[in-house]
Amino acid sequence: MLAKKGDWVQIQITILKPEERAPQVPEDTKQVPLEMRVKGFLQDEAAEIGAMVTIKTTTGRSITGKLVAINPKYEHDFGEPVPELITIGMELREMLETLDGDING
């Protein structure tokens, strides 16, 4: 896929390589780089995913990094229906309705 100048895109930059990380970082985190993603408008005429590009962010900063997404989608959602949660409301309403019942039963 080709991104064109002015497209809303996301880039990625390595901020610290594993060996440059802070001394207090735990061992597992020390094995991996500190990386950053940020979105903005593509300044290059055209670019493919993986290319080094420059973007202008909404605050007007120019940043250069690897193109990782074009028109990036929000991926988070409401999740699936969770069986362990679905019945809680009904259970509690029933408890309230059973005014004099043995609620521990």
Partner: protein, 476 residues
């Protein structure tokens, strides 16, 4: 001026004080009395704003004056399961009705107002929480640029759903969102951005931010007086960085509610390392948990400003922990019995309040001091779907006995299973001293420093001296 060309971790951290001075506009040095001792109240008075001024600033951007409601159905349920004569009434301060959906608007309102007054062109906040959206929203209203720096992904680019949602909210308010992988170097990168842009550091921990929360405590006291004729017996506060408890308690005192107990509540995530790449996505609460709550209480000045205005041990009467499963259960309860879809992190304090109501007398009152907006990424269904993908066991069961952070999330089978794990405040006070002694590499303190410690730990001289002796014996 030190050269800003060297962008290595050590070089930037060495420029920290200078970058901060320029980005916060506070000369913290002037409040230092002697060694570790500094004049906290003087700092709050001189650089914070008066309660009246804060109210005015917040009303300009529709922040505050949120409803306080009695949770009548939950209270009926509590009465049914409480021992005879027990079952305090719970009231909820619906902070989700603030512009960006949480109490964080109170903090952001004052910070952004102050940034504008000082002539900054933009604001930066390092936060993965609701504070990002709050700063972005306030910056939008005041016409300032805004950058939010989030810790968002693990090394596999798996984003925490709740943090992704908060990032979306920030972008909706026009902010630039910088998303990082796991690591405490978030602070390092924020310093670089502050240096590059010359923007204001809208820290969560400045005196402005904390002054912004005082109105919350003040409103709770006055609203409860109107509703019930007296101040509440207890206010339960979700505790993470310490700003909410500090500001709320200060506001309660300013209103005259000096007998109200201030109880901190956090989600129990002990055992999971906050800076660990592998543990990062084993947590289904991104705030209000022990990973912030304990470290920030025992060493407040670990924050992004030289002297943290949030000092929880000055105000916390009791500290209790609840489990992830309990808070998800109570989040369902709030939606289904009270028609309020909120949280989940903000419902940490509600969960603790339910457990505490069961042990308190029926004529007593408890206020839960916040709620937060919810939706995609934040809902229990979103977090538990993610938890299952990450291999967690999610089950109905005893929420405390069966809970194992990072492995098992047990959702209660019955409301009577809602309980708390006591975490003695005294333990945190001792840890505060232990860390202080280690950092300072000395256990002798001057008279002025000891007086400061009495205030910062709200402890007597005797207690402090005894704890220091105890620590000394333990390390010998």
């Amino acid at each position: 001026m030190v050269s800003s060309n060297d962008k290595s971790y050590t070089a930037v951290m060495a420029r920290r004080a200078e970058i901060m001075r320029r980005a916060v506009g506070i000369d913290y040095e002037k409040f230092i009395i002697d060694g570790i001792a500094f004049d906290y109240e003087k700092m709050m008075e001189e650089v914070g704003y008066s309660l009246e001024k804060v109210k005015k600033i917040q009303s300009e951007t529709c922040v505050g004056n949120t409803p306080l409601v009695e949770l009548k159905n939950i209270n009926r349920l509590i009465k049914k399961i409480a021992p005879k004569g027990k079952g305090a009434r719970i009231f909820l301060k619906d902070e989700a009705t603030n512009p960006s959906g949480s109490f964080k608007d109170r903090r952001a309102a004052v910070s952004v107002y102050h940034a504008q007054k000082l002539g900054y062109k933009g604001v930066i906040a390092a936060t993965s929480g609701n504070y990002g959206a709050a700063v972005a929203s306030q910056a939008a209203k005041r016409g300032l640029k805004c950058i939010i720096v989030q810790e968002c992904y693990d090394s596999q680019w798996r984003g925490q759903p709740e943090i992704l949602e908060k990032g979306r909210a920030c972008e909706a308010y026009g902010a630039e969102v910088v998303q990082l992988t796991v690591g405490p170097e978030l602070f390092y990168y924020t310093l670089l951005l502050l240096e590059e842009t010359g923007f204001f550091n809208a820290s969560l921990y400045s005196p402005y931010a904390i002054a912004g929360v005082e109105t919350l405590g003040y409103e709770i006291a006055t609203q409860m007086k109107d509703l019930t004729g007296r101040y509440p017996d207890a206010v339960v506060v979700t505790h993470a960085g310490g700003g909410l408890i500090t500001g709320t308690a200060r506001g309660l005192k300013k209103a005259g509610a000096t007998d109200t107990k201030v109880i901190g509540a956090s989600v129990n995530l002990r055992g999971l390392h906050m800076a660990s790449d592998t543990d990062f996505n084993k947590k289904y609460f991104t705030t209000g948990h022990t990973g912030f709550g304990i470290p920030f209480a025992v060493y407040p000045d670990r924050s992004d400003v030289p002297k943290n205005a949030a000092r929880p041990l000055r105000y916390m009467d009791r500290y209790v922990l609840v489990t992830q499963g309990e808070v998800f259960y109570v989040t369902e309860m709030l939606a289904n019995l009270e028609g309020l879809q909120r949280g989940p992190a903000g419902n940490t304090s509600l969960t603790a309040a339910i457990a505490l109501a069961l042990e308190m007398d029926e004529d007593q009152t408890i206020v839960v001091n916040e709620t937060e907006y919810t939706g995609a990424g934040k809902l229990p269904s979103a977090q538990l779907t993610f938890a299952k993908e990450m291999g967690m066991i999610v089950k109905r069961g005893h929420p405390i006995k069966e809970d194992i952070p990072g492995k098992v999330i047990a959702i209660p089978e019955h409301p009577s299973q809602i309980g708390v794990i006591e975490y003695p405040v005294e333990e945190m006070k001792k840890s505060y001293l232990k860390e202080l002694i280690k950092r300072e590499n000395r256990s002798q303190f001057t008279e002025t420093e000891l007086r400061f410690l009495e205030e910062d730990l709200r402890a007597s001289r005797n207690e402090i001296v005894n704890w220091i002796d105890e620590i000394g014996e333990g390390t010998r």
